[in-house]
Structures are given as structure tokens and as C-alpha cells.
């Protein structure tokens, strides 16, 4: 049960399911190693970790290797986010920007530093339209589907989120931009297994094979120098 610092020039990611967002300590209440352990038990092999500094690979057994990759899920005012993206203050990090408004999204989709978009469920309805979908597909920028709001909300709020995600999935069926599926887990009980993710995504119009492909294609979405590591 050890950790191994990866080569900074390459990203070594085990093949398998990827979780697009976990929030380890200090923002969450779970340490990186514990997150990696739980993710490994549940069947994940890689995850984007919000707030960590460097890439780390944790090996718990021959079959259980989990890579945590540093990512920044930016939030706040559009001007501040644009400033961070243009300056690219923290290198070796994947930046995800919120879907705030249409003009902002179109601007961000032209930025090479942007890896993906998140918080789609909180955005105005016209923030991510077909033009944005086409641009995201051309530039290989992913859109994050967080299952956390599906879990944490009830009643009309969840109905609204399911409807919004349904619209996104309809756009995805047409334009095939990259999708991410994340648990946004800040704690061990918040982690959901790939099977649970698949069954929850069934609610928003993604069938089993589509969700499976999306979660397995997670390593391919990362940068060109990503090295996919075959598990024994």
C-alpha cells in the first residue's frame, strides 16, 4: 500500500473507470489516500481531485491502482475566472470553468487552457446552446455531469435537474462533445460506484453502454502526453 510520485512530464493513468471530480482534504473531510482506497474498492482507477497540488498514483494491490490528477473547478465572477485562465497561474492543472452565461461560455471555449465546463445544472437555460456544443466538440472540451445534485435534491429541484441534464444529453447525442461523469464527493459516503453512476445516468437519458463508454474514455480526454497504463 504505497504511493508513487509520477513523472511530471507524463500522466500515467490506469485503464478503467474515471471519476471526474472528488474533493479531498482540506476542502473535504477525507484524505487523498483514503479517497484513492475507496475509489479503488468501488472500481475506479482514476479521478480528478479538486485542490491537490501534484499528480499521485496510489497502489494498494496488483489490481488496485488509482491515479489522482490535480484539477481546479473554478467558480466566482466571470472576470476573475477569465483572469485565472488567461494567466494560467497554476501549471500542470486541469481547469474547469462554470457554465455561467452564454457569452462567457463561448469565450472560454476558445481558450486553450480550459479542459472542461462544470455546474451545468445551475446555469441559465440558454448558457450552453447548440453553438457551444459544436464548439466544444470541435475543440474537445468536456462538459461535466455531476450526479451529486441528483443524489442530494428531492422533489421539483431534482425534476428540474433531470430535465436540464436531459437537454444536455440530447445535445450530446447530436454533436458528440466529450462528456464527464463525476460524483463531486467530498467524503467517503458520497462516493458512488460505477454501477450506481450508470443507473443514475439512466434517469437523464444515457443508457448503460453510453455511460460505460463515457466513464471509460476518461483517460483519453486528458492531454496528448497522457500515458495509459495497462493494469495486470
Amino acid at each position: 500500500m504505497g504511493t508513487e510520485e509520477s513523472n511530471p512530464d507524463t500522466i500515467r493513468i490506469p485503464t478503467g473507470y474515471g471519476d471526474a471530480c472528488v474533493i479531498p482534504f482540506p476542502r473535504g473531510n477525507t484524505t487523498k489516500r483514503r479517497f484513492a482506497y475507496e475509489l479503488g474498492i468501488r472500481g475506479f482507477t482514476s479521478a480528478l481531485a479538486d485542490g491537490i497540488v501534484s499528480r499521485e498514483t496510489f497502489s494498494f494491490s496488483e489490481q488496485c491502482t488509482v491515479a489522482l490528477l490535480p484539477a481546479s473547478f473554478l467558480s466566482g465572477q466571470n472576470r476573475d475566472i477569465a483572469g485565472i485562465i488567461r494567466q494560467k497561474k497554476k501549471k500542470n492543472r486541469l481547469y474547469l470553468v462554470p457554465v455561467n452565461e452564454n457569452k462567457f461560455v463561448r469565450t472560454m471555449l476558445k481558450e486553450p487552457a480550459v479542459f472542461g465546463l462544470h455546474d451545468y445544472h445551475q446555469s441559465p437555460r440558454d448558457a450552453f446552446d447548440r453553438v457551444c456544443a459544436k464548439m466544444a466538440a470541435e475543440r474537445n472540451i468536456a462538459v461535466d455531469i455531476s450526479i451529486r445534485p441528483l443524489i442530494m435534491t428531492r422533489g421539483w429541484e431534482r425534476q428540474k435537474i433531470i430535465r436540464r441534464y436531459g437537454e444536455l444529453v440530447r445535445l450530446w447525442h447530436r454533436y458528440r462533445f466529450p462528456l464527464l461523469i463525476s460524483t463531486h464527493a467530498g467524503s467517503v459516503p458520497d462516493i458512488r460506484s460505477p454501477l450506481a453512476c450508470i443507473s443514475l445516468c439512466n434517469l437523464i437519458g444515457l443508457d448503460k453502454s453510453e455511460t460505460d463508454d463515457i466513464m471509460r474514455s476518461f483517460p483519453d480526454l486528458l492531454s496528448q502526453d497522457a500515458v495509459v497504463m495497462e493494469l495486470p
Binding site: M1, F25, P26, N29, T30, T31, R33, R34, Y37, E38, I41, R42, I147, L150, I151, M152, R154, G155, R158, S187, V188, P189, D190, I191, R192, S193, L195, A196, C197, S199, L200, N202, L203
Partner: protein, 173 residues
């Protein structure tokens, strides 16, 4: 008196789920109300009636759910939407779907025999520790007794999840 002939009865499937964190205490009746609430919220009353989910068996952190055949995916979806139980955060992970409860019991016995390694590696602190919102001070406060004045001054307590290696690293620092 049996109401239906065997060929007319509903077919059932049994779903084994494990709860996280491992030190949570589960009362089958309360678990039934939790899952019933989650399924009703997600699929409505008519959907919940057709799923007919009950809790026939529970031991430790393992719970067995019974539902009508063909509704296993709906129960797994409902389980995924459970985030609190008896006022505490919890997660249910489906482990096995079986046609008989015997297989479920055998699997539970096998998994409980193997769970010592897991318990010896992880530390789930639900109630014994308290924190001041400063994260890793939990390891420091863990050994303090309740009468300590410093611990009394901490305003809120919430769970922490770490591994043995994390505590060792922390103490090495």
C-alpha cells in the same frame, strides 16, 4: 393460508448492499423507511408499489433488500440516492443481486470474514473525534478525553475519513 398458487406468485430478487462508513449501526426498520422514502421520491407511489422493496435481512453493515423481479435497477438507483440515514451521512453500495436469500447470507459471511483487513487500514471517525474546522487536527484531538477543556471549546464535530498511513505521516511530521 397461502393466497396464490406457486405459479401465480410474484418472483423476487434479493439485493445485497453494504453501507459506508463501516462503523454505522443499521436498524432494518429504519433502513426500510429510508429506502422507501428514496424510492418513492424518485419513482412515485405507483413505481414504489410495483417495486415492492422490503428489508428481510440485515447484519452488521450489510443489508439485504427484496424487490420484484425486473426492478433491481430501480432499487439500485434508489439506493444510490440515499445520502443520510438516522441523521448521519451514509452511502449504500450494491454488492450482489441474487434469486435466493441463501446466496446473500453466504456472501455476507464471506465478506465479513475478509473485512478485518479493511477495518485495520481505514479510520472512520464518526463521533469520537471533534474538530475545529482545521482538518488534520483530528488526529491530534483523538486521544483527548471528554473532560478536556480544549476539546469542549470546539464548537462542531463532523466525521473524518483517513487511513492508518495518513495518521503515521501526520505524526511523523
Amino acid at each position: 393460508m397461502r393466497w396464490f398458487r406457486p405459479t401465480m406468485r410474484d418472483n423476487y430478487r434479493y439485493i445485497l448492499a453494504e453501507a459506508v462508513p463501516w462503523n454505522v449501526t443499521l436498524d432494518p426498520k429504519e433502513v426500510y423507511f429510508t429506502i422507501s422514502d428514496a424510492i418513492t421520491s424518485l419513482f412515485g407511489d405507483a413505481g414504489a408499489a410495483s417495486i415492492a422493496c422490503v428489508v428481510p435481512y440485515s447484519v452488521g453493515r450489510y443489508v439485504c433488500f427484496r424487490c420484484t423481479r425486473g426492478c433491481e435497477d430501480k432499487v439500485i438507483t434508489g439506493l444510490a440516492t440515499v445520502h443520510h440515514h438516522a441523521g448521519k451521512p451514509i452511502g449504500f453500495h450494491s454488492v450482489l443481486v441474487s434469486g435466493t436469500i441463501k446466496t446473500i447470507k453466504e456472501t455476507v459471511e464471506r465478506r465479513m470474514r475478509c473485512s478485518d483487513r479493511y477495518k485495520s487500514y481505514v479510520i472512520d471517525n464518526e463521533t469520537e473525534q471533534s474538530g475545529n474546522g482545521n482538518g488534520m487536527q483530528y488526529s491530534d484531538t483523538r486521544n483527548r478525553k471528554n473532560g478536556n477543556e480544549e476539546e469542549k471549546s470546539y464548537k462542531r464535530a463532523y466525521p473524518t475519513f483517513l487511513t492508518r498511513d495518513d495518521t503515521e505521516e501526520y505524526h511523523d511530521e
